[in-house]
């Protein structure tokens, strides 16, 4: 099991010097899924943006991010272009906002493909359709010709997954991909992700606030609160024997909601 991506002492500070992410370190193994759990404002999304070097201009980042021996902070724009989309794919919480509103989806697939590989327009379209069918979208030619606002949330997310995996990246970063969807679609997308990851050696960084989903998808779990990774370990240890008080509260809260049969704490 080789380490694909190593994040060491990641610090993100804003202009006033407040640290939003503090000394966070973790690593992504090939073929394994790492779930980063935290509530809103805990800095988990910032961490994922830092990996892709997409932090907003007013934030300063320090620390070391190494992708298979390559230090990501010193990369040139050109090298970054081949890594983003090529080596690291990304999907986000609001899929309809991640697609250009006035360009048909098919064209966006072709643009993506031709930015990384010297393929003809026809070849790119064929690849795109193959990918779209892999994400269980039936009428691919209809999807290719429609716009982002014409598709449902679930379908848009499937398009985003197809786009992220189009160039067979080594790492997939999923930043709360299902929190904006209704419960039923949420489950479909989670099952789809599990399947797509299963038979490849791709690693996934899954960011969520939902303990249940990460329990289902992840091999290792990291719990983040107020910018610090307070606890990290295999899924079994974290869920059955959490050390940190906050993680215990998370598990209790989740099991009560889930099981419904837990004892009534303050009867």
């Amino acid at each position: 099991m080789t380490t694909l991506l190593e994040v060491k002492n990641l610090n993100i500070r804003n202009k006033e010097g407040q640290s939003l992410v503090h000394n966070s370190s973790f690593s992504l193994e090939t073929g394994k899924t790492y779930a980063l759990i935290g509530e809103s404002g805990s800095g988990k999304t910032l961490t994922s943006k830092a990996i892709l070097d997409m932090l907003p201009a007013h934030l300063q980042m320090s620390g070391d991010i190494v992708l298979q021996g390559e230090h990501l902070q010193q990369l040139s724009r050109k090298r970054w272009r081949s890594i983003r989309g090529g080596q690291i794919g990304a999907i986000f919480q609001h899929p309809e906002q991640a697609l250009h509103p006035s360009i048909p989806i098919g064209r966006q697939f072709v643009d993506l493909m031709r930015s990384h590989l010297p393929v003809s327009r026809y070849e790119a379209e064929k690849q795109a359709k193959k990918m779209l069918s892999q994400v269980l979208l039936k009428d691919t030619s209809h999807v290719m010709s429609s716009y982002a606002h014409e598709l449902s949330g679930g379908m848009n997310q499937r398009v985003m997954i197809a786009m992220a995996l189009l160039l067979k990246p080594k790492i997939l970063i999923a930043d709360e991909p299902t929190s904006a969807l209704d419960v039923k679609t949420q489950a479909e997308i989670i099952f789809l992700l599990k399947e797509l990851i299963l038979d490849t050696d791709m690693s996934m960084l899954f960011i969520t606030h939902d303990l249940l989903i990460s329990g289902y998808l992840a091999d290792t779990i990291g719990v983040m609160r107020e910018g610090k990774i307070i606890e990290q370990g295999s899924k079994e240890n974290i869920l059955s024997a959490p050390e940190h008080e906050y993680t215990q509260e998370l598990c209790r809260h989740c099991s009560q909601r889930f099981l419904g049969k837990g004892e009534i704490p303050y009867a």
């Binding site: 081949s82 983003r84 989309g85 991640a98 697609l99 360009i103 643009d111 993506l112 930015s115």
Partner: protein, 315 residues
Amino acid sequence: MLRSMIHRLFMLIVTFVLFSLFVFTLMRLAPGDPASMLLLEIGAVPEQSIVADLQKQWGLDQSFIQQYLAWAHHVFQGELGHSFSSGEPVLSEMIERLGPTSKLIASSFVLTLFISIPIGIWMGLNEGTMADRVVYSMTILGLSIPLYWLAILLMYTLGVIWPVLPVVGSSTIRHYILPVTAMTLVQSVYFIRMVRSYTIQYSKFSYIEAAKTRGLRPSIFYPSYLLRSMFIPILTLITTSLPSFFGASIITETIFSFPGFSKYMLEAIFRRDFPVIQGSALFVAAFIFVFNYMTDLLYFLADPRVHLDKQRWEV
């Protein structure tokens, strides 16, 4: 779509009528009574009887509204009366002088666009770099340079110390160089800043950021992703800044004694030539309102989905 275009047309007419009412009231407020003013102007003694007939003839004794309606009736059919000083019909005098002014405005307008849009976009994309900060601080100073002072400096350097360019008149192309340069410099400072802020704003949109995370090639990313979405705001900027070029042309034409429409209008003030002032003001206002209406129409044809709440800024 059609309903709101008719609504806009109605609004345009209401606005223009309000403006003409405003001009008319100002005329009525003018000190001195026009009849005796005219008599003095042409050297006759303003006896009571003659003044009274003139007032009657011009209907000055009727109520304010009746006077306005009578006046508006003439004006809206293009009869703008005769200039006090030259006695020529105002309309023909204005049209004669439109040539040089429209050439001046058009050339500096186009030049400003060609200079400012590329620089603005380039600065927006390199936000925060040293070059961006240097040029940005230059634009801060640029906004504070008075056009008339800049024109004098240009006139001094290129007309006095190293007399290469003509400084007065508008007969040959070379006469246009100095005025156009002055206007272009001042206007493009404002344009560069606006285009830069649009570029910064639009490159932070979610779908543009997402496109970056997919590592699109620059030759694909900039033209068809970033610039395509910026087309409407830049078009708005262009159409809403035309009136400010007219404002600048008044100063430029005066300094370089450039015999255009704006200079003619300004001189009318010194001669207190009411018909000319009134005629040119209404003409310019009509042109600007119709121009704005045309651009609204253009938006609807280009992209009906566009939501029309443009900011109308003026330098």
